[in-house]
Amino acid sequence: MTDVLHQAEAVAAPRVARTGRFTIAPWLYLAPALIILFVWIYLPLIQAGQLSFYQWNMLPTSTPRFVGLDNYRNLLTLPEMGIAVRNTVWYIVGLFPLSVIIPVAVAILTQELSGPLRNLYRSLIFVPMIVAPIVAAILWRWLLNEDYGLVNQVIAGLGFSKVGFLQDPKIALWTLVWMTGWKLIGFSTLLLSAANSTINPAYTEAARMDGASRWQIIRDIRLPLLAPTILLLSMMTILFGAQWSFVYINALTGGGPLQSTTNIFYLMWEYGFQTLSAGWSAAAGMLTFTAFGAIALVCLWLMKRLAVYDD
């Protein structure tokens, strides 16, 4: 069974030879993306780097005042920082099942169903994505409300006591994780379905003819070939989990109740970006960028090591 996989790897043609001379072609292809990213993202980042050492509100009527590392110190010593970091980890851990595990299961399981039903399920799972994030936040707030929410009515009807989804500090974070994940399931499923459909059916046919069971096919062919996408989604969850939940925190809880739903990104928003002090804001931006940048580099390195490509 595993020789099918070995065959797939062996099919790799010799790589494109590394050119000794400088070729302009790849740079021309890269130019549009690089120019846009430089002008609209990296240039402001460099400015932010400089600004983060000053206290200034950016108005032409005031002069920037050099404060060294004060902005960084103020942000890092915020009392909510400890909780924010811990919560960020919980957000990421909680999102994983919703942004990676369930979508992988859906993509693979529905592959086995016949055409129309498969499309129907996948399309239904996709529906949350068409709803604007702020609307999704409001809808779930209504559905989960203790007094007039459908979910609590059902829970009470089944004989359990009502749950304070958004006001119980022990539960609020998981409620927001659910809301964030609700929209993500469709997103990940779409990407995985696309990747799944590019898996050459010749491999699976060959394996089936070799007598491999369904599970073996999944484990040894589909999963490894889906690995690049799975890794990408995992990396996105780690890097953006906090950011994805931001809209819900901002609209529904403001980091509460009692700081139980705040995370790094929201904290930076509250104290950095909402306060009109360019110094705090720039420092907050630099902090998030370097912290997550470091994590991203680790993830990218892992991806290169672990991904299997059909080449």
């Binding site: 509100n57 707030r141 209504w142 409300n145 509460g256 109740p257 009692l258 700081q259 104290y271 705090w280």
Partner: protein, 433 residues
Amino acid sequence: MLRRTLLKSIVAGGALLSATSFASAQMVDEITEPVTVSFYSYNLASAGLKNETTQEMLNEFMRQNPMIKVEPIAAPSNEILSRVQADIVAGQQPDVAQLVFRDLIYAARDLGAEPLEDFAGDEYAAHTEGMVENGLDLGKVDGKTYGLAYTFSTPVMLYNADLFRKAGLDPDNPPKTWDEVKEAALAIKEKTGKHGFFPGAFGPIDGTFVYQAIVMSNGGKVREGNKLTFADAPAAEAVEMLRDLKDSGAYADIDVASHMDTFAAGDLGMFLFTSAIQDTMLKAADGKWELRVAAMPSFGDKPTAPTNSGSALFVLSKDPVKQRAAWELMKFLTSKYAYTQITSKIGYLPLRLDIVDDPEYLKDWVDAHPLIKPNLKQLENLTANVAFPGPNYRQVENMMKNAAAEAVLGDGDPVEALRAAQERAQPLMPGDS
């Protein structure tokens, strides 16, 4: 060579100096050429009556002043300051802006809002005749008026008369003190199973005006000059009172962002919040339950200190011609006509009390809408909302609000929570100069 460059820079500096001093002090006497001014408003960023009424007023202004064109720019109330600031940075100088009171000191000292007494001299005195003295104080910083209160209201106690009746309480006799609130709330909770009382003080989008109103009604203050005092005795006691309400069950245990919805759904007995939501609540209650309004509760015999929420208008223009146009717009928007529109259609309070009894303006409307009366009466005790100074003012306000929320809604010692936050926030206040 060096002398020449030195000379040039002195001349340039002098010209700059005179230009700036000229621009900030003298507006032209009348408009003789067409001019466009920008008006930043958050009422324009909402759909419905608030938007339409504002547009109507602007159209009426342009009709009466054909040489002046008003360019309306909309942004939601929590983004409007960032918007004004971004535009100043980008070189699109705003002319008139509707900014919320929490940003008062920032607008005066950093954004360059014009101090109206210096800016408009006699015209200012003439224009403000008939305005409530307490109301004018709302826009003052260091004794000078920078903002004219435009759309503002104070906290009122909205209550559900049906729930009162079901709980055996008399809706014609709403609670007047905090002790009575506690009794009534507990009664509602026990007899109807619905929530008793809730203040719109700690939600993610709530301002600090309800919290400040409660604190100041007890004689406390959140800051004295540059010294933070929200953890000191009278302020802390007010918070302890709220904590007691929470611990006893009178204070509803609901999601802080859903307060308006819970009240609208008829599940909350008493709701202390801005009167500006009255209209929305009337529509939600229509045919389902009866809405009533009372003044905010007091601490025993102490007078209440209803604090303003809402916005003031500021003039930000630097060009003399635009300044004149901006001032004309500002006068129009704070005239008797305008306040009549604002109160009757948008739902705020009038800064000019003489229109309330004037049949040409508000009398008929007030007679037909008795729910506004408690709010109008409270204007006698109107106490200015305390804005925070310095470059870190928003951070300080955040810390204070979070601490107060923790003190009331958390499990620890409330005074300790307030004190810890006050200590942490004090270094962020400007040093005494």
